[in-house]
Structures are given as structure tokens and as C-alpha cells.
Amino acid sequence: MKSGILNIKSFIYFIGLSLLAVSCYRFEEPPVQEPVKMETTMTIAQFKALYPGSPYEITDPSIVISGVVTSSDKSGNVYRSLYIEDETAGLEVKIGKTGLYNDYPRGMRLYIKPELLCLGAYGGSVQLGAASTQEKYETSYIDVQPLIDRTIFKGAMEKLPDALVISSSSDINDDAVCRFVKIMNASYQGSSSGLNTWAVKADNDLGIEAAYGEQNFKVGDKQIVVRTSGYASFADTKVGMEINDKCNISGILTKFNSTYQLVIIDLNDVEKL
């Protein structure tokens, strides 16, 4: 019996030793990634000017451009794309992933080495994407991670650039396209029944499909369309504006053929007057 107790003791030691041997399954946090910093070789305006009027695949490995992210796809109104801008111009970058605001939040500086990418136009607006295999589009989404990793680099977080203020019709011009703008005193010029919701959200129970909403505003004598996706989280939020009601409204200015459009990022962009 005594030897039995001794043996049990040695077993408890054995158990203790084994517990020590079982090291914890723990991991150190990976180091914070240092933001990238690069020397740019041209401005965004210069870069956009490289577009010759048809798809242009960039083969020059030395080109580096840079800009700060001004858009967010959090609400879903911007989808699979983001906009950057520097002092000279704004640019749409068709990265192609969803949830881009997680990786590229507003205010982050991006550096782009566009070799392997493609400049093309959609509705007359120059975009940066990948070469397209479909004739009807000049560019496709960059989409694949290895191509993104080769071309788009994350810089430091900076302040979101101040919105370019648009207070008269002459401020609405091609230089402002793809920039984050704030339109002052826009007046609603849409349906006589008023602006109910920005767009139409899908409703499976009622058999309604999501649809873009196009709401007409006027700044001075120029018309601008606030274009909103039916998939935007605020698509069916009640707006409540009557004809001639005025608001200050921010967003990314885009242009489709000759129509200037505004893409709002979220409802903070709308300030009813």
C-alpha cells in the first residue's frame, strides 16, 4: 500500500510535468506595418492626361502616382471602386474588391505603380483599372490580389482633404470630376411629388428589384444628378424634399457623357437648408 501511495505521488509529478510540456497556444501580434512612402513621378492630372482616347495599358515601370482616399464603400453607394485625389485631380481606381473601406479607409494615402494596369474611359470619364477582355468596357476591375499587391501601396493615414466647394455653376467642370466636392445651395428639381427616397431598395416580399435613383438638382443654371444605388444602405431612407428645396450636399463628382453626377458617401453628406 505504501509503495502504491508513492507511485500515485510520482504520477502527480508526471501530470504536472506534462502540463508544463503543453505550452499555451498563443501568438504575438504581428508588428504594425510601416506605411509606404514613395517618390511620385507625376501628378494625377498628368497621369490622366496619358489617356489617348482608347484603352492604354501602362508599361512604364517608373511611374508612381499618389493620392488620398476620399470615398468609402461602407454604405454601398460606391461599389468595388475607390476615389483618390491630389492637389491636381481625382481618379477612380477600380480595385474590384468589396468592403474596400476596411483596407483603404478614407484619408489613407495610396501610392500606385500603374505598370500592368490600364487607363480607360467610361462615359467619357478616365478610370484606372485592369485591361478588359470585353469590348464594351475599356477597363475591367483589378480584382485579383496579386495584381493589387503589385500596384497599390498603402501610405500613412492623413486628414481627409477638404471638399472642393462648388457654389456656382462655373465650379462644375471637368477638373472637378472624381474629386470630393461640396455643392452649396443645390435646389431640388425632380418630381413634382417631391424627393421621397434616394433610390429603390429591393424587397423580395413585394417582388421589387433594386434600382438606381436619379434625383435632379440645380446649381445656378447647371443641372446635376444625384445618382444613388438601390443597394446603398440609405437607399430607402425618407428624404422629404419638395421642388426648389435647397441643401448643401457633398460627394464624389462624376461625369457620364455630358451629365454631371454626384455620388454621396453617406447621409452625413446631405445638409438640408
Binding site: 500500500m1 502504491g4 507511485n7 500515485i8 504520477f11 508526471f14 501530470i15 506534462s18 502540463l19 510540456a21 503543453v22 505550452s23 497556444y25 501568438f27 504575438e28 501580434e29 504581428p30 508588428p31 504594425v32 506595418q33 468609402s72 461602407k74 454604405s75 474588391k97 468589396t98 468592403g99 473601406y101 476596411n102 483596407d103 479607409p105 489613407m108 485592369a130 485591361a131 477582355t133 475591367s140 480584382d143 485579383v144 490580389q145 496579386p146 495584381l147 493615414m157 423580395n204 416580399d205 428589384e209 444602405s233 440609405f234 430607402d236 431612407t237 453617406d266 447621409l267 452625413n268
Partner: protein, 935 residues
């Protein structure tokens, strides 16, 4: 050890015994279990054990041919205990009764070698299956070793590597008891091997019946009943250590146990512990960090009272393996690719880790007031934690590397991009595996988003909201069982048993934030509801604590109890007349289960919090077994049974995470089963041939998964699944010459679905029903998860000086893929024009069931043990499996649950096509080395 069966056989023989005048005794023959060769010099100890009588004990040794005879005329009539031991073998113990001055023939007693190639067979491997409910699933052995049955002993080792399921049944059709208390999982019915994995030394003493037979511990199901004796006195006396390494599961196992055996003072104590550590050669990212313990104490007072207290547990961290599509395997150049891990700071980190520690405490009391009557009481309590981790993310891209949009095939219309991806898959670990660095980076960027005011408690500028976290899903049990059993013999002709058991189970299902991955908190709202319903209460996971900020270790998402109360009353009667034995067993079960929601879900405020309606089921089973013994070892027996079984909790609720709704038309499963068997054991041959037929009707199943089309968690609930399992089993062992014996086994079955069940697909986060009561055209399709043909032949050699070796060829066929029910519905084939060849091909692709290629395996083993100073025993065994190193053997797979919708330019669905299936492959050549030391 199947002592009870021997006992029964022995009883039957009692009458046909020869009388040797005044002298009478006990005779038998000792054989090696693996080779069936005779064991000489085995020690046979006989002791008389009746009350009040004078103590009598005697020893003899077996002869060259293994036989022995020991006279017990001096001891007289009454009960005897017999202990048979031999160096290098496990000791066998059995009890018999001598009556009418007749001799008793024990027949063949086979001893298991202590150094066995089968030391590894109860190990479970964690797989990620199609069902993402809680826990992934474990590959559980459905055939046990250590039974005396010739088929099971061959099948347990040679078939299990191909994930063979005995007779094609899932694990919930086998019953596992410990010390007489049923241990199958209360919520799923699964056999509970993970509770005692790593405790091989203390779980060797098993009594089992196979197939439909009823047992002395319960009426049982259709796939056998095993009772594991974990009493302190059941653990072999002495100290033993073993060290094991292998290349398929873990690197290192150290196991030790010490047992006093039953001491003169009536006490027995036993302790055992083990640790299992490391990964394997084949699948990166998988690992074991396991530890097991066992403590047993037992006290006998006279022959009347036996008390036992047993406690054991097996805390473990185990990294899981995932399956992928063939495209992925081909890209990385290996069928053993595992998408569950990625590098973090240069270290391999697996996202799917089982974290389990569920201790079990058992108390047993046996009262034997008379030689022919016994009362047994058992209490068990199982508690602790059972967690399984997984990545969770909120409105951010899917982080799984083999998500279909991250694969070249998604860009089949753009070869340049497909090429970029293919190159990256081949060379870049951050593309091929989980990119933990990116997840941390995203979380460090996480902010409250302007426009969405979640909480004012936080400084928006400094607090980081995690978008990617590791969650740990839990199913934590409180399982309490009371068991009472009375056994009474009426002479030697009739034996009756009456048993009652009560089960109380309260299991909490919930999940916690296991790791915030660099962020400060997780926000507990429902992202799918937020996306679909925008604002308000509807996207709250819990209206009782809205907009809750969750820190590491805290619960979130869902939280509910599953409650079960189950009463079982059963009886069994054995009639023995001459060589004829009949057993009638019947059972009635009344049970009640319900869900109890602890969260008030925003979408289901009236149907999520508090108790669901109680689901009450009264079920019954009856079995008849007939057994005729030509001689004690030459038996024909047959069983027939009709069983009904209530559905398990885990299949009964439509969407248990979110609400109290029960599956429509929930009903009991009905089983009819019959088998007929012939068994022959002589000193020359061991043989069993069986045929079985089983119809299972009204099965229910719940498959939960992330649906990419719905972009949310959804549930497939299926009802009215019928299946039929018909087959034969046969096995033989024959000595050939000079210690060489031949063994062969075959299991050939046809396991098919015989009904067209109904499937309903519901979404976790809304009342929306995607597909309602859609008919699944399953009739005639095959039941998956097992080879329907498994066969093996082998040679075993047992040489002088405890040397042994074996070689074995196995062949498997009829292995089918697990099916996605949706693919056999009208819903899935809509828009396919079957009048064209193209349409025909599309139809075939959607509805045909993939059959895997047959597999051929070659395995070998060798071992030796040494006796040192007659005091110590040292043993070594080595086994090598899949010697032909075939790395293209599919052992299983499943069809992905989602379908791809093909749309026209205006977004209307034209038709659907299936996604590629996912597969598991058998490991290539692999080894196991076991070193064993006993003193």
C-alpha cells in the same frame, strides 16, 4: 474482454460436459488473439469465491498445445474466478460457476498481446465538413478493437483508415457505456470517444455485442453496444509506460498508468495520464496539444458490496483540417492542402481549433445479496467546455484563402487574371493561406463609421472596432445520468433483467470572442439584418442588451440552452434450454426536450427569448435474439428488432441559433432490422459470417452553412429521409504453418436512400424561407461516408521470443460523395433544357452522385517484446501503412451546399450550376512506432 459471452457459452456447455467420476475441473485452451496460435506456459489461477465457504485457490500452466486442465473437486461446487496470464499479454479474468460436480470447458481463451499494432485505433481526427453548425465533425471510429469477434478485430485496424462505418451506420447507432452508464451524446447521439481519448490503458476492458444484439447493459441500437469497464480493478495491475510516435496524427504520445489491482483489503486504486503533442507529416497546420487523466478508486466489502468512484478527462487543443476542391489541390500540388492556417509572425496559426475539456465523474455501487442476484446503481456527471474556433467577420471580404472568388476558376473569362492568381497560389503564402497580418491591419484601421452612431461611450478616434475576429462556438454540457439495474437468475434456465435510467441534460450553445486580432472590441449586431433592414431594433442580436460592445472572452451572437429529460425503462429475458438460447428485450423511452433562448433576437422578438414548446416523444424498441449452439464455439444466431427513436435536439430546430421554431412534421425515426450470423471458433479456425437487413424511416437532418447567394447563414432542414442497409460481413482466421496465420475479412453492403425527403431552407436572420418543402429526388442514391465494399487479406506471423510481424492487403470500393440535397430538386434544375445534349450534360452534372475510385492498400507491422529479469517487460512495435504511397485515394468528400446562379443581362436567373466538390485524401506512406515498458 468479452467475459460475459464466454460465461454464457460456458453455461450452455455445462450440460454437455463429460464426467470424470469424482474428479471435476476447469479446462480450456489459451491462444494468441492475433495469430490464433497456441500459447504455452500461460499461468491459470483459479480461486473459489463464494460466500462463507473456505478459500480455495490453485495454479496450473498451459501445455505446448495451449490446453490446460485444473481439478477443482477439492473446492466443490460454486462460483470460481479464473485469471489467465502470460508474459507479453494482457491478463484475462472471468467468472464461472461449477454445478452438479460437472467439469467446465472454457473453450478457447484468446489473449491480446500487450504490444499491439492496435494501440492507436480510438484516435479521432478533426475534419471540417459541410455542416458548419457548431463544431466541425470528428472522424469517430465506428468499429472497436479489443473485441473477441474475428470480424471486428480485422476491421477495426484495416478498415478504419478508409473511414469505414460498420454496416454503413452513423455513429449514433452504436451505444457506448462506461461502467454501465450510457455515454452517447445527449444532443446528437454521437459516440463520445473524445471524452476519454488518450486513456487507452484504462479503457481496454470492454464487453461488447455487435449488430442488432441486445446486451446485458441495455437493449442497444442496431450497431452494437460496448460497455467499457473503467473500474480501478479493471486496469491491469502494475506500472506501465509507453511512448508512441507516428506520422499521421501527432508526433509524440507519452502514456503512463499505475494500478494496484484488487488488494487484500478490498481496495483498488488506479491512476493514468497521457499527453499527445505535435503535428503530422501530411497536413500542415493540424496539431495536438492534448492531455488526459484518470483516477479510479474501488472498494469491495465482502462479496456483497462494491463501490467505485471514477473520474477522467481529456483537455485538448486540436487544430483541424479543412477540405478543398481539386482545383486548389492541383494549384498547390498537394492533396493535403489545408486552408485553415496562415503565418502570423512566422508561426503557423490555425483558425479552427477544438478546445475541449469535459470531465466525467462516475459513481457505481453493486450489491450482490445472493449468488444469483445483482443490483447495480450508476451515477454519472459530465460537464466542462467544448469549444471550436473559427474566423468571424463583419462587412469585410471573406478571409478564407480558398473562397471561390479567390481562385483562378472564378476568372475563367479572363485568362490574364486567372494566370496572376494561379502564379500567386503556387508561390505566395499570403495568398495561399490565411493572411493574418492583413486581418490585424484591417482591425487597427477599424473605426466607428460616421453616420452610424453606435455608442457614445467610446472615443471614436482612438477605439478600434475589429472587423475580423476569432470566435469560439461552444456546446457546453451538463449531463447527469442515473442508472439502476437488477439482474436475477432463475436457476440456470432463465435470467431476467430490469433497468431504469434517467437523463438530465442542459447544454448551453453560445459563442465567445476568442481573439479580437488587434482591435479593441466587437460590436454585437447582426450584419445581415443590418444590411437588409437598415436600422432600428431588427439588427440587434439581443434586444436585452442592444448595441453591445464585446470584449475578448465575452459571449455574443447567440446564446441558448438545449434541455433534455429522458426516462428509459427496459427489460431483457434470457431463456436457455440445451443448446438453445432465446433473448427477448424491450425498452420504452419517454423524453422531452426544448430550447431556452437567452437572447432576444431583434428579428424574432416574440420567438427567440425564453422557452420553446416542449417536444415530447414516447418511443419503444423490441428485440428478439435466437441462438443455437451446436457446440460452445459453433453457433448460429439471429436477431430481429423494431426500434423507434426520437429526433435529436440538434436536428429538431429550424434555426436553433436564432429562434424557437421547430422543424415541420418532426417525428420519430422507425427502424426495422434483422440479422443472421454463423460463428465458429475451434483451435484451428475462427470464422464469422453475417447477413443484415435494415430499414430506417423518417430520419431528420439539419445542415447549416454560409450561403453565398443569400450572403448569410442558412439552414437546410430535411425530413422524411428513408434508407435501407443490406449487406454481409465475413471474416476468417486460420493458422497455416509455423506460427503463420491467415486472416481475411469482407464487408459488402448496399446502402441506399429509399425515399424522396423534403427540404426547407431557412435563413438565420429573417423569416424568409428560401425553399419550402421542396422534394429531394434521392430515391436510389447511395448513402455516403463509408466504403460499401471493404475487404482485406493478411498474414500474421508469431515467432519465437515474442516476435511478431504481419502484412495486409485491403481493397475498398463503393465510396460515394455526401450529397447536397438541393441539387436533386426541381428548384436546382429549373431552366435546364433536357432536350438538348448540352442540357442533358448540365442535368447530369447537377444530379449525378460522384463515385470515387476504388482503393488498394498495403500495410505491414512488426514487433517484439523482451522480458528483463522476469520483472520488466519492454516492447516495441512498428507499423507502416499505405506502403505503395498512393496519394490519390479519396476517403470522403462533399458537395458544396451553394449553387451558382447564371443570370441574363437584366439579372434574371436562367439556371443554376453546382460548385466544385470538396475532398479528403488518405495520407501517403506513414508509420507508427510504439515503445512500451511495464513493471
Amino acid at each position: 474482454m468479452n467475459t460475459k459471452r464466454l460465461l454464457a457459452a460456458a453455461f450452455a456447455l455445462l450440460w454437455s460436459m463429460l464426467l470424470f467420476g469424482q474428479d471435476f475441473g476447469i479446462r480450456g485452451k489459451v491462444l494468441d488473439r492475433i495469430s490464433s496460435t497456441a500459447l504455452k506456459d500461460a499461468t491459470i489461477k483459479v480461486a473459489k469465491s463464494d460466500k462463507g465457504g473456505s478459500a480455495f485457490s490453485k495454479i496450473c500452466y498451459s501445455g505446448v498445445d495451449g490446453t490446460f486442465y485444473i481439478s477443482v473437486a477439492e473446492g466443490g461446487n460454486g462460483p470460481y474466478s479464473i485469471e489467465i496470464s502470460a508474459a507479453g499479454y494482457f491478463t484475462a479474468r472471468l467468472n464461472i460457476r461449477i454445478a452438479n460436480d460437472n467439469s467446465f470447458d472454457l473453450g478457447n481463451i484468446t489473449l491480446s498481446p500487450e504490444v499491439s499494432i492496435n494501440t492507436f485505433d480510438d484516435e479521432t481526427i478533426e475534419f471540417e465538413g459541410a455542416n458548419e453548425t457548431g463544431s466541425g465533425y470528428e472522424d469517430i471510429p465506428s468499429v472497436l478493437s479489443s473485441t473477441q469477434d474475428v470480424f471486428e478485430s480485422v476491421a477495426s485496424y484495416n478498415f478504419s483508415q478508409m473511414r469505414y462505418l460498420s454496416r454503413g451506420y452513423e455513429s449514433n447507432y452504436s451505444d457506448v457505456y462506461i461502467n454501465g452508464v450510457k455515454m452517447n451524446d445527449a444532443m446528437s447521439g454521437y459516440t463520445p470517444y473524445s471524452l476519454f481519448s488518450g486513456l487507452n490503458e484504462t479503457t481496454r476492458d470492454k464487453e461488447s455485442v455487435i449488430g442488432l444484439a441486445s446486451s446485458e447493459y441495455g437493449v442497444g441500437g442496431i450497431n452494437g453496444l460496448t460497455n467499457i469497464n473503467m473500474y480501478a480493478s479493471s486496469v491491469p495491475k502494475g506500472t506501465r509506460f509507453s511512448v508512441l510516435t507516428n506520422s499521421t496524427t501527432y508526433r509524440f504520445r507519452l502514456m503512463g498508468s499505475y494500478s494496484t489491482g484488487m488488494m487484500d483489503n478490498g481496495w483498488a486504486f488506479s491512476v493514468s495520464a497521457s499527453t499527445r503533442l505535435g503535428g503530422n507529416d501530411w497536413v500542415k497546420g493540424t496539431f495536438y496539444q492534448g492531455f488526459s487523466y484518470y483516477l479510479g478508486a474501488e472498494k469491495r466489502i465482502g462479496d456483497e458490496h462494491r463501490f467505485a468512484l471514477t473520474a477522467f478527462g481529456a483537455p485538448i487543443l486540436r487544430g483541424a483540417q479543412n477540405s478543398s476542391t481539386q482545383e486548389v489541390y492541383d494549384l498547390v500540388g498537394s492533396n493535403y492542402y489545408n486552408s485553415n492556417w496562415g503565418y502570423q509572425n512566422g508561426k503557423v496559426r490555425n483558425a479552427k481549433v477544438r478546445n475541449n475539456h469535459e470531465p466525467v465523474i462516475l459513481f457505481n455501487y453493486e450489491y450482490t445479496p445472493m449468488d444469483d442476484m445483482k443490483v447495480a446503481l450508476g451515477l454519472s456527471y459530465r460537464f466542462g467546455k467544448n469549444g471550436y474556433s473559427s474566423l468571424d467577420w463583419y462587412d469585410a471580404p471573406d478571409p478564407r484563402p480558398d473562397y471561390y472568388r479567390n481562385l483562378p476558376s472564378y476568372y475563367d473569362d479572363d485568362p490574364v487574371k486567372a494566370g496572376w492568381l494561379a502564379d500567386a497560389w503556387k508561390t505566395d503564402p499570403s495568398v495561399r493561406q490565411i493572411n493574418w497580418d492583413r486581418l490585424y491591419q484591417v482591425n487597427r484601421n477599424g473605426r466607428f463609421d460616421s453616420g452610424v452612431e453606435y455608442s457614445e461611450k467610446f472615443d471614436i478616434n482612438t477605439t478600434k472596432r475589429s472587423k475580423y475576429i476569432l470566435e469560439e462556438r461552444h456546446a457546453d454540457q451538463n449531463d447527469f445520468n442515473i442508472n439502476a439495474l437488477v439482474t436475477k437468475e432463475f436457476g440456470s434456465i432463465l435470467k431476467g433483467q430490469l433497468g431504469y435510467s434517467f437523463r438530465y441534460n442542459k447544454t448551453e450553445y453560445y459563442k465567445i470572442v476568442k481573439d479580437l486580432l488587434g482591435g479593441d472590441y466587437w460590436f454585437d449586431v447582426d450584419q445581415f439584418a443590418e444590411r437588409d433592414f437598415g436600422s432600428g431594433d431588427s439588427y440587434q442580436n439581443n434586444l436585452l442588451t442592444p448595441n453591445r460592445v464585446v470584449k475578448q472572452g465575452e459571449k455574443y451572437g447567440y446564446d441558448y440552452y438545449a434541455n433534455l429529460r429522458k426516462n428509459t425503462l427496459w427489460t431483457s429475458w434470457d431463456l436457455n434450454v440445451g443448446g438453445f438460447q432465446a433473448t427477448l428485450a424491450a425498452e420504452g423511452v419517454y423524453q422531452s426536450f426544448w430550447r431556452e433562448g437567452l437572447y432576444k433576437k431583434g428579428l424574432f422578438p416574440e420567438n427567440s427569448y425564453g422557452r420553446s414548446e416542449k417536444q415530447n416523444f414516447l418511443t419503444y424498441s423490441a428485440k428478439l435474439g435466437l441462438n443455437y449452439k451446436f457446440t460452445s464455439q459453433n453457433i448460429i444466431y439471429a436477431n430481429v428488432g423494431y426500434l423507434t427513436q426520437a429526433p435529436y435536439f440538434e436536428e429538431a430546430f429550424l434555426s436553433p441559433r436564432t429562434r424557437n421554431s421547430v422543424v415541420n412534421g418532426l417525428t420519430s425515426e422507425k427502424i426495422f432490422s434483422a440479422d443472421i450470423n454463423y460463428s465458429l471458433k475451434t483451435s484451428f479456425i475462427a470464422l464469422r459470417v453475417s447477413a443484415f437487413y435494415t430499414e430506417i424511416k423518417d430520419q431528420t437532418d439539419l445542415i447549416s452553412f454560409y450561403d453565398d447567394i443569400q450572403r448569410t447563414f442558412t439552414n437546410f432542414s430535411m425530413t422524411g429521409i428513408d434508407q435501407r442497409n443490406i449487406g454481409i460481413e465475413a471474416a476468417v482466421k486460420v493458422p497455416i504453418i509455423a506460427g503463420i496465420s491467415f486472416e481475411g475479412a469482407v464487408s459488402y453492403g448496399n446502402y441506399v436512400y429509399t425515399s424522396n425527403p423534403l427540404v426547407t431552407q431557412t435563413i438565420d436572420n429573417s423569416e424568409k424561407v428560401v425553399v419550402q418543402n421542396e422534394k429531394v429526388y434521392w430515391k436510389g442514391y447511395k448513402v455516403a461516408r463509408t466504403p460499401q465494399l471493404a475487404s482485406s487479406i493478411g498474414l500474421n506471423w508469431r515467432g519465437p521470443n515474442y516476435l511478431f510481424a504481419g502484412i495486409n492487403f485491403s481493397y475498398f470500393d463503393g465510396i460515394y460523395i455526401s450529397m447536397n440535397p438541393l441539387r436533386r430538386t426541381d428548384y436546382a434544375i429549373k431552366g435546364i433544357d433536357a432536350s438538348t445534349q448540352e442540357g442533358q450534360d448540365a442535368l447530369m452534372k447537377m444530379t449525378s452522385q460522384e463515385k470515387f475510385a476504388p482503393a488498394f492498400l498495403l500495410n505491414a507491422n512488426v514487433g517484439k517484446s523482451w522480458s528483463i529479469n522476469r520483472k520488466y517487460l519492454l516492447g516495441l512495435s512498428v507499423s507502416v501503412n499505405n506502403i505503395l504511397n498512393n496519394k490519390n485515394i479519396k476517403t470522403g468528400g462533399y458537395e458544396q451546399m451553394r449553387l451558382k446562379s447564371n443570370k441574363d443581362t437584366s439579372g434574371n436567373v436562367l439556371n443554376y450550376t453546382p460548385f466544385d466538390s470538396k475532398y479528403f485524401y488518405l495520407y501517403g506512406i506513414n508509420y507508427m512506432v510504439n515503445v512500451y515498458f511495464r513493471f
